[in-house]
Symmetry: C2
Subunit: 157 residues, 2 copies
DNA sequence: ATGTCTGCAAAGCTTTTGCACTGAT
DNA sequence: ATCAGTGCAAAAGCTTTGCAGACAT
C-alpha cells in the first residue's frame, strides 16, 4: 500500500468524524494506519497482532467497532470466506473483483474491466443496486505447485 | 423448485454415494429433499425447522455434514453474508450471480449472461480458475418501499 | 462538563469435535 | 460383522454487548 494513501484515508476519516461530531481517538487512527500497512487481506487476529507490535494494544471490541466504521466509509472491504472473515484496505480501488484460492485462502484483487462494463449493462429487476463483489474461486500458482509436488511424491512411492 | 429436480438430484446423490462406497442414509435424502423444497435461500435454523416438521428431527452435526457434502457435489450453494450463512439449492443452475438486499438479506438469482461471457474472456494471472460468484448488493423493491413509507411518516411528524 | 469511546469480561451465536451407539452394507 | 454415519453434548471460535471508567471535545 502506497504511503500517500495513508495520509489520504486519514483525512477522509478525520473529515467524517468532524462532520458527524464523533471523536478522533488514537485507537481509530492506529487501526486505520495498521489496516493500510498490510499488503492484501488480513484477519482480525493478524490485525490485532500487528497493532500490538507497531502501536499499542487495542481490544477486540474496539477493533470490530473501527473496522465496521471503515467498511461503511468504504475504506475497507470485508470478505466472508469459508476459511473465515478477512478484511482488506480498499482506498481508491474501483475494482471489486477478487480471485480466491480455495486451498490457502489467499485473496488477490484482479482487473476485470470487461466484467464491470457488462455488469453496468445488465438490467436488474426490482432492485436498486449499490455495490458488487465478484469472487473467482480456484487454486493459486503456489498451491498448484504444491499439489503437483505431492502428486510426484506419490508416484515415486 | 420443480418437483422433477428433486428426483434428479436424488439420483445424483445416490450415484455419488454408490461410487464412493458411502451410505445411503435416510437423513441425507431427507436433507436433500428439504433443501429442494425451499424457494430460494434458507438458514440452518430454517432448514432444521422444516425437516423437523416435514420429516423427522435431524441433529445439527448431521445437517452440517450433509450440507457440506451437497456443496461439494454442487447441488447446493452457500452464501456467507453479513446477516449470516445462507444455503440455496442450485441444481442445473449455470448462474452464479445474485442480488443481495443489504436490508432484509434476501438473495435472488439473477441472469447476467453478458457478465458470464466477459468473465470467460478475462485472463487470470497465476490462477487456475474453478467457479465464481457475483454478488450485487443493494436494496430490494420491498425494502425500498418500506424506506419510502418511513420517510413520509417523518415528514408528517 | 458532556457524552462518546474504550476495555474488560461475559454472553450469544454458529460451527466443529469426540465419543458411544446405530444401522446400511 | 463391519465401520461409516448419527446424535448428543461439550468445546471452540468469532462477534456482540453491557457497563464502568477514560478522555476528546
Amino acid at each position: 500500500m502506497k504511503e500517500s494513501n495513508k495520509t489520504a484515508v486519514r483525512q477522509i476519516l478525520a473529515k467524517y468524524l468532524d462532520e458527524n461530531k464523533l471523536r478522533k481517538t488514537p485507537e481509530r487512527f492506529a487501526v486505520l494506519d495498521a489496516v493500510y500497512s498490510f499488503n492484501g487481506h488480513f484477519s482480525i487476529q493478524e490485525l490485532s497482532e500487528k497493532i500490538e507490535k507497531d502501536y499499542f494494544p487495542i481490544s477486540r471490541a474496539t477493533l470490530y467497532n473501527a473496522l465496521n466504521l471503515f467498511v461503511n466509509l468504504r475504506l475497507v472491504v470485508c470478505h466472508r470466506l469459508s476459511l473465515g472473515t478477512m478484511y482488506q484496505a480498499s482506498y481508491a480501488s474501483t475494482s471489486h473483483c477478487y480471485q480466491v484460492c480455495t486451498i490457502c485462502g489467499k485473496v488477490a484483487e484482479m482487473k476485470a474491466p470487461k466484467v464491470e462494463l457488462a455488469l453496468r449493462d445488465t438490467r436488474l429487476k426490482r432492485f436498486r443496486r449499490d455495490s458488487y463483489s465478484l469472487y473467482v474461486y480456484g487454486v493459486c500458482s503456489t498451491c498448484v505447485a504444491k499439489l503437483t509436488r505431492e502428486k510426484n511424491k506419490k508416484k515415486i512411492k
